[in-house]
């Protein structure tokens, strides 16, 4: 059986936290450039120029793209034939987050308890860690730090089957209109349809790990992604101060659901659509 020492996991997670904070993925950078070419608002063009320049500075100088370096979401796919040795997997991942955020001069934005005693944990742990067991002997890690300017504008709606496609569109657009310019557009919109309430929310997060240039493989969902993107770009929200580039992409993931339900979750991501992916 293949063995993987937790120390290797910690080191990789630390590097990935820094990479994600400094380097905007190429697809998002190209999406911003395309938006700049088509943007109709003069102020919107100025805003997009600043956002593009910002990405270039962050990358060239190894600096955080945004000061909100987020709560660290970690998706782990653990091969069932992999033996993790030398310690606890969750602790190893959190140790990597603490190392990356400290060494990388990233902001520590996590409080240990949400309501009565909001004290900063000072190393950005714990991360939000999702673990899936899959065939194989590899460990697949995706790090997706999530800023809260946009997270606070996300939402979920428990529709009934009779609401159908029209209901889904209305539910999504209500959340987008309510969010307006607040989640730092141009946004990327992750949507989870189906499952239970919690599964829909998770699918909406997973949707954001897909490239913005890649549509859902099922044609009906691909068409819905395109239609929603067009609607969002006609709201006038634009790149924060009005315009036509309100969103770069809509990514939908779906899952089986109950005969009586149609959950729809929307995670809004700002233009800082940051990720890092490695297979160990």
């Amino acid at each position: 059986m293949r063995e993987l020492d937790v120390k290797v996991i910690t080191e990789n997670v630390a590097e990935m936290c820094k990479e994600a904070a400094y380097y905007l993925p190429d697809d998002v950078y190209r999406g911003l450039k395309r938006g700049r070419e088509t943007e109709k608002s003069e102020v919107g063009k100025i805003v997009l120029d600043q956002i593009i320049k910002n990405a270039e500075i962050a990358k060239a100088e190894d600096r955080p793209y945004c000061q909100d370096t987020g709560m660290t979401i970690v998706f782990l796919k653990v091969g069932q034939d992999l033996h993790i040795t030398g310690g606890d997997l969750t602790e190893a991942v959190n140790a990597g987050i603490a190392k990356g955020y400290t060494e990388g001069y990233l902001r520590k934005s996590v409080v240990g308890e949400p309501l009565f005693n909001r004290v900063n944990t000072k190393n950005n742990t714990p991360g939000v860690i999702y673990t899936e067991i899959v065939p194989g002997d590899k460990l697949d890690i995706t790090i997706a730090p999530k800023g809260f300017g946009s997270e606070n504008k996300s939402g979920i709606k428990m529709l009934v089957p009779a609401d159908g496609v029209k209901g889904v569109k209305k539910a999504v657009m209500e959340i987008i209109l309510h969010a307006s310019m607040n989640p730092c557009p141009p946004m990327v919109v992750g949507i989870g349809i189906g499952g239970t309430m919690d599964r829909a929310a998770l699918l909406s997060k997973k949707a954001l790990t897909r490239s913005i240039d890649e549509r859902n493989p099922m044609p009906e969902y691909a068409k819905l992604e395109e239609e929603l993107l067009e609607m969002i770009n006609q709201t006038g929200i634009g790149p924060q101060l009005g315009g036509t580039t309100s969103a770069l992409a809509v990514n939908i993931e779906w899952g089986p659901t109950h005969i009586a339900g149609l959950p729809v979750a929307v995670t809004i991501c700002c233009h800082a659509m940051r990720h890092s992916h490695r297979v160990l």
């Binding site: 100088e61 000061q67 001069y105 300017g149 606070n152």
Partner: protein, 149 residues
């Protein structure tokens, strides 16, 4: 600070004629005055803002919408609200020359600090008469009605 005022205490900083920038920067790398420092959501401050404007603040820099209560307090005090581009944190850091913590150092990135800036990129979004560019800027490009779905 609003709690301290309610208790009748003096504030650690004189806010008269100052401009406040809402931000929580990343830690500075060695040799830099500040880390990445884009604006944070101004709406988080709305509950406290009218009281703070009455302390003499003349300008605010942040991102996102404000409540009607804040806009009223702006008109009452002749204050202006500027937007910095949300997320442009590495770019904005270039315009900050000095960062000095003045109060509440225990709050880390959320401490009250004095910033010295040159060519800081900001745009007026709500003026002291209540004109709102967030609304004005969106209108010409809005071609969507949710009731048409």
């Amino acid at each position: 600070m609003t709690e301290a005022l309610a208790r009748g205490e003096k504030l650690p900083v004189d806010w008269k004629n100052q401009i406040v920038y809402y931000l929580g920067p990343t830690p500075a790398k060695p040799g830099d005055p500040i880390g990445s420092c884009g604006p944070t959501t101004s709406g988080r401050m709305d509950a406290y803002t009218p009281t703070m404007l009455d302390q003499g603040i003349k300008g605010m820099v942040g991102k996102g919408s404000r409540t009607p209560e804040v806009v009223e307090a702006m008109k009452r005090n002749g204050a202006t609200y500027f937007a910095a581009v949300g997320g442009a944190a590495a770019l904005i850091a270039k315009s900050v020359k000095k960062y000095t913590v003045l109060a509440y150092p225990e709050l880390g990135p959320e401490a009250v600090a004095a910033l010295e800036v040159v060519d800081f990129p900001a745009i007026v979004v709500i003026d002291c008469e209540g004109n709102n560019f967030y609304e004005i800027g969106q209108k010409p490009f809005r071609n969507f009605d949710i009731n048409q779905i």
